[in-house]
């Protein structure tokens, strides 16, 4: 019982500090630095502590301090309550969705079963969708409560876009569930021990559709029409300043991390190294003793998982700075006339292939 408690607390502290303490601030820096790299600029490099610039990493710290000293602005006509609650609704699901994403397998440490996921829910994927849809409320409320034309337009566009892509995303994932026969993310991860059973080989179309929908759901370029800065100033968060602005920004980055984690879990073998089964890994590490081997295997798997996550973060950032923004009619056409029918076709093909083979 005490061991369980310690395990749970350790996992929660790890995930929370990894996401809020590491990924959120560092991704702010990565986005600036990568865009600079891709556009042949230098990027953030001025903030320094005693002459050390750490290739611009201190900019995240400097920005945090600066933004803390900013005024919390609420326009006169705004609905004060909803204006304040909107960033809250955006950020809470973004932080807590990662609770069901497994970042490692099961290990036997000192006679205690360690399962590297905060909450091993039997409805894992549904939990992710449930929380991800809550973010829509935050965005729509932010746009509506500001009483600004830019915000209202941004909120409207966001509501229609996020609802549409949620339908397509819900249907694309069904192929994966059919193949693995489970909604539990740890089980889906464990079934991908064999390299050729990775989701990407079983569901190639599903991966492309899901990744597209996920980027659109997160309102990133090329689907960033709700916050299109060249036409809507900043879209639904035009009237936000200070830490409330940062909360939308953090929610976006944490959703990038969560999307990468889910793509890794569903399609890219979760915590498994390619061509290495759990047994092989344990036998290679036997020199450290039974507990030591389990511990080292755990470290290797967690590192593998986060390496894959970082790859997909990089991929999303590259897409962000490569593609131009789609028009609104193009976005809606892509969703309803291409992704949705393709998702249905994917279910049909998956069903036929699984049953015939």
């Amino acid at each position: 019982m005490v061991a369980d408690l310690i395990e749970s607390i350790a996992k929660i502290v790890f995930v929370f500090s990894m996401n809020v303490g590491f990924f959120a601030p560092v991704l702010g820096w990565v986005e600036r630095k990568q865009s600079a790299l891709m556009q042949d600029r230098i990027g953030a490099n001025r903030a320094d502590i005693l002459g050390f610039t750490a290739i611009g990493l201190f900019h995240s710290l400097a920005d945090a301090l600066k933004v803390l000293a900013k005024e919390d602005f609420i326009p006169a006509g705004a609905n004060k309550f909803f204006h304040t609650v909107a960033p809250f609704i955006c950020l809470v699901p973004a932080i807590s969705t990662f609770a069901v994403v497994p970042f490692g397998g099961r290990y036997e440490l000192f006679g205690h079963q360690v399962n590297l996921v905060i909450a091993d829910l039997d409805v894992g994927i549904l939990f992710v969708f449930a929380l991800a849809s809550l973010a829509t409320y935050g965005v729509v409320l932010a746009g509506w409560s500001s009483r600004s034309n830019w915000s209202l337009l941004g909120g409207l566009r966001a509501s229609a876009q996020m609802l549409s892509y949620e339908v397509a995303m819900g249907l694309t994932i069904i192929g994966v569930i059919m193949v693995f026969g489970s909604l539990r993310l740890t089980e889906i991860g464990a079934l991908q021990e064999n390299f050729f059973h990775w989701g990407i080989f079983l569901q190639p179309l599903g991966f492309v559709l899901f990744f597209t929908c996920a980027i659109a759901e997160n309102k990133r370029v090329p689907f960033d029409i709700p916050e299109a800065e060249s036409e809507l100033v900043a879209g639904y968060f035009t009237e936000y300043s200070g830490l409330k602005f940062v909360m939308f920004w953090m929610a976006e980055f944490l959703e990038i991390v969560t999307i990468s984690g889910i793509v890794t879990t569903l399609f890219f073998g979760a915590w498994h190294l390619p061509f290495v089964t759990d047994q092989m890994l344990l036998s290679w590490l036997q020199f450290a003793g039974a507990n030591g081997a389990a511990f080292l295997a755990m470290l290797v798997n967690v590192a593998t998982f986060f390496a894959k996550v970082i790859f997909f973060i990089w991929l999303q950032m590259s897409i962000r700075w490569t593609l131009p923004r789609f028009r609104y009619d193009q976005i809606m056409r892509l969703c309803w006339k291409m992704l949705l029918p393709l998702a249905l076709v994917n279910i049909l093909i998956t069903g036929l292939v699984v049953l015939v083979l």
Binding site: A76, T84, A99, S148, E166, M332, I347
Partner: protein
């Protein structure tokens, strides 16, 4: 330990972080109010049109489609989990269901409800 307790702890932590940020930003920082500043942002101009106006019915339509198609998607989830146990019978049944869904989609499409001009 019940898995949902961990979820609750995570939700509580997230809520505490978010609430802490809101409280911090409303306590720290200057508070200067005057009429011109409190207007909604309109690129430096006074607001010309109120934002309390009507908007295109298209957005409502999308919300309606969402309810219809998402509920149908929810029906497919339990089937997908049990798909291998149900075999051909379940597959054919679900394909009939999805065919009906597709007819709905084709109808919506043909009526031009998915066009944005």
């Amino acid at each position: 330990m019940n898995e949902y307790i961990s979820v609750l702890i995570m939700l509580f932590l997230a809520a505490a972080t978010a609430a802490g940020m809101i409280v911090a930003t409303s306590l720290i920082g200057p508070k200067i109010e005057f009429a011109d500043k409190m207007e909604p942002f309109e690129c430096g101009e006074s607001q010309i049109v109120s934002s309390k106006r009507r908007f295109s019915v298209k957005f409502y339509l999308v919300a309606l489609f969402f309810v219809i198609f998402d509920i149908e998607a929810v029906f497919v989830y339990p089937w997908a989990v049990l798909f291998k146990d149900l075999g051909w019978f379940g597959f054919v049944e679900m394909m009939i269901f999805i065919a009906i869904l597709t007819i709905g989609l084709i109808y919506v499409w043909r009526r031009g409800a998915l066009e944005w001009e």
